[in-house]
């Protein structure tokens, strides 16, 4: 359904890939579906996290789904496979799936994913250098970013999974502790030079709907902010974030 339509638009302009995938346009591969489900779930968790008070039942169910996918991916070796695959193929898989990330259920009707895809492509190339160095140091909720950085750095998959699990756990922790104190903790790792409100707000607006958008921790990766301005922002989320910034 939505995956079908998505693929057609996604692959405009990618000549060689189009040929290969033309055959499976009607039935997206299981891995692709699974990946897009994983990404969608992670976005939902992130958005959940940004709500004033997340629905615990929903968060738990989504988190369990994510764990399930992760386990299955570990079992059939896809997790490791992601690291060793050629960057071209893998990056397109990533792009397809993160395209879904760009589209919230609100955007779905408007079909804004084409421009998002275009920008995202550029973003990846510019990020390549940044990601590999930043992933290991950033310890906050960065599950989707970790997945993507797997593509670039063919490092220890175990560590990445650890980060992933850790991010999941952190989502739960912060779901539990929705107090100004915990928000300050989140901020404690942030580089102070990025307290420039304008940069932050631009960053927030572009990051709220992107696949690798995290919380307020993205201040540590300024290169992400400028390029992803095509995705629509959620003004309510923005207000809430500004409130927290002001309070802390």
């Amino acid at each position: 359904m939505f995956v079908r339509g998505l693929k057609r638009k996604c692959f405009d302009g990618e000549e060689d890939i189009e040929g290969t995938l033309a055959g499976i346009k009607a039935i997206p591969s299981y891995n692709l579906q699974r990946q897009s489900l994983l990404d969608m779930s992670l976005v939902k968790l992130q958005l959940c996290h940004m709500l004033v008070e997340p629905n615990l039942c929903r968060s738990v169910l989504i988190a369990n789904t994510v764990r399930q996918i992760q386990e299955e991916m570990t079992q059939d070796g896809t997790w490791q496979m992601i690291n060793t695959q050629s960057t071209g193929q893998a990056s397109l898989d990533r792009l397809v799936s993160t395209d879904i990330l760009c589209r919230s259920s609100r955007d779905q009707a408007e079909g804004k994913h084409v421009p998002a895809y275009g920008t995202f492509n550029k973003d990846f190339e510019s990020d390549q250098a940044q990601d590999s160095s930043e992933t290991m140091s950033a310890s906050s909720v960065q599950a989707p970013r970790n997945l993507q950085s797997n593509v670039w750095e063919m490092e220890n998959p175990q560590e990445n999974k650890g980060n992933f699990q850790k991010s999941l756990d952190q989502i739960f922790e912060t779901l539990e502790n929705k107090s100004p104190n915990s928000v300050e903790d989140l901020f404690s790792e942030v580089d102070n030079s990025y307290y420039d409100l304008d940069t932050m707000l631009t960053g927030m607006m572009s990051n709220t709907k992107m696949g690798h958008c995290d919380n307020l921790e993205t201040f540590s990766t300024p290169t992400n902010t400028a390029s992803n301005s095509n995705c629509k922002s959620d003004l309510n989320d923005l207000d809430h974030i500004v409130e927290i910034l002001v309070e802390s």
Binding site: F2, M40, N55, L56, C57, R58, E173
Partner: protein, 420 residues
């Protein structure tokens, strides 16, 4: 009108209470059948409206507490007044609804306006008399049960002893005495020591209708635990554990989400309980834990659409279910303002629609059908044209007669079995 969030008949069925997202409670009363107006039989009119809960702000957590009424439960009537419990995410309130149709007149110390009379004008002593007045229905909060829940309250249930009740949130269940507001007992706690290990939450809880020591609670993993309060003070150990083994052939990434139970209701006779998960309703015999005795598919045609329903969050919709008075029929809601009834003996099921177009007053509802195959017959509706924003989450059945209340977003529909 606000979105209706709960619907509940009282024990006699004469009163029907609805709670909405704005924290208001509206009570409808059935018109009394009189010889002069037999046509009015079965009609419900507004009896009382009051603001039960207001939005609150939790300063400690910087969170707003929604005023939406999650559940209303009536207490059995013990005197002229009616009592009900209504709850939002955090606070339960006991409301007294009483009628006033007489007014005292002829006070000695004050006149009819309420002003004090001049002492020198009082020349004789008189006994105030009761004069009739227009019926006035007053609702007053009698108890407020607050600060006992960290998480969102999803259920309240009055015990058959009519003295205690339970309230359940995502991780804990508390037992209250109706007279005591500053204390409650925690009877179930499934919060893990480390919140990172949380994988299951409580979704609904109910007391057994006849045994005051028994209650059940359902979980997001599709399990039901029956607990006996006589066995221990903290009922973390269940007495019975109900779970249907998973069908490996239909396993998908959504299996757990669609198995999450959104409602659990005991039958009136106390022998069975019914659970609602995303696609089906199951009837369980309390004596058999390994599988339900009956399973009814509510909208199986949605199984192939689970991915889209996950994307638009409809997969998390919490549908309720209810029994009729004799436990012979069960009812639950679906999308497109459809609701379904299942007759347990005959295995007959009906799909009806609650909408203005199809519900002219006194007109008979036409059964609806969703087309699941390619060829659509006349009057059938295809799965893709279903409106997923029109969902019937709350329904209620009169305890004695075949009168049902169906909440369709912000409209309340009352349907009655046709009598000749």
């Amino acid at each position: 009108a606000d979105i209706i969030s709960t619907v509940e008949f009282n024990y006699t069925g004469d009163l029907l209470a609805t709670g909405d997202k704005g924290g208001r409670v509206v009570i409808f009363q059935r018109e009394q059948e009189t010889k002069s107006r037999p046509v009015s039989r079965g009609e419900y009119n507004v009896y009382s409206t009051f603001q039960s809960h207001e939005p609150e702000f939790d300063y400690l957590k910087s969170l707003e507490i929604e005023e939406k009424i999650n559940k209303i439960r009536w207490l059995p009537q013990q005197n002229a007044a009616h009592f009900l419990l209504s709850t939002n995410d955090k606070t339960i309130k006991l409301w007294k609804i009483s009628e006033r149709d007489k007014r005292a007149e002829g006070y000695n110390l004050k006149d009819e306006d309420g002003r004090l009379r001049e002492p020198f004008r009082i020349t004789e002593l008189r006994v105030p008399t009761l004069k009739p007045m227009d019926l006035m229905v007053e609702a007053s909060p009698r108890r407020t049960f607050a600060n006992a829940h960290t998480y969102h309250i999803n259920s309240i249930s009055v015990n058959s002893d009519y003295a205690t009740y339970l309230s359940a949130d995502d991780l804990r269940i508390n037992l209250w005495h109706l007279e005591v507001t500053n204390r409650s007992f925690n009877i179930v706690d499934i919060k893990p020591a480390n919140m990172e290990e949380l994988t299951e939450v409580i979704t609904a809880a109910e007391f057994h209708p006849l045994q005051c020591n028994v209650f059940v609670y359902s979980s997001s993993k599709g399990t039901i635990r029956l607990c006996d309060m006589r066995s221990s003070a903290l009922c973390d150990q269940h007495s019975k554990f109900f779970e249907e083994p998973e069908d490996p052939s239909s396993r998908s990434f959504f299996s757990e989400i669609i198995s999450s139970i959104s409602d659990v209701k005991f039958s009136h006779n106390g022998r069975y309980m019914m659970t609602r998960d995303y696609l089906s309703v199951k009837v369980w015999d309390l004596n058999m834990e390994n599988r339900p005795v009956e399973t009814y598919q509510v909208h199986e045609y949605l199984r192939s659409k689970l991915c889209s329903l996950y994307e638009n969050d409809c997969i998390f919709d919490k549908f309720e279910c209810c029994w009729n008075g004799s436990d012979s029929t069960i009812m639950t809601g679906s999308y497109n303002n459809f609701f379904r009834t299942f007759e347990r003996n005959t295995h007959r099921d009906t799909t009806l629609e609650a909408s203005r177009e199809s519900s002219k007053p006194r007109a008979i509802l036409k059964p609806r059908k969703v087309c699941t195959t390619g060829k659509r017959k006349k009057d059938e509706i295809t799965v893709d044209s279903l409106d997923f924003n029109k969902k019937i989450l709350h329904t209620a059945w009169h305890p004695k007669e075949n009168i049902i209340a169906v909440a369709a977003t912000n409209n309340l529909y009352l349907f009655q079995e046709k009598v000749n």
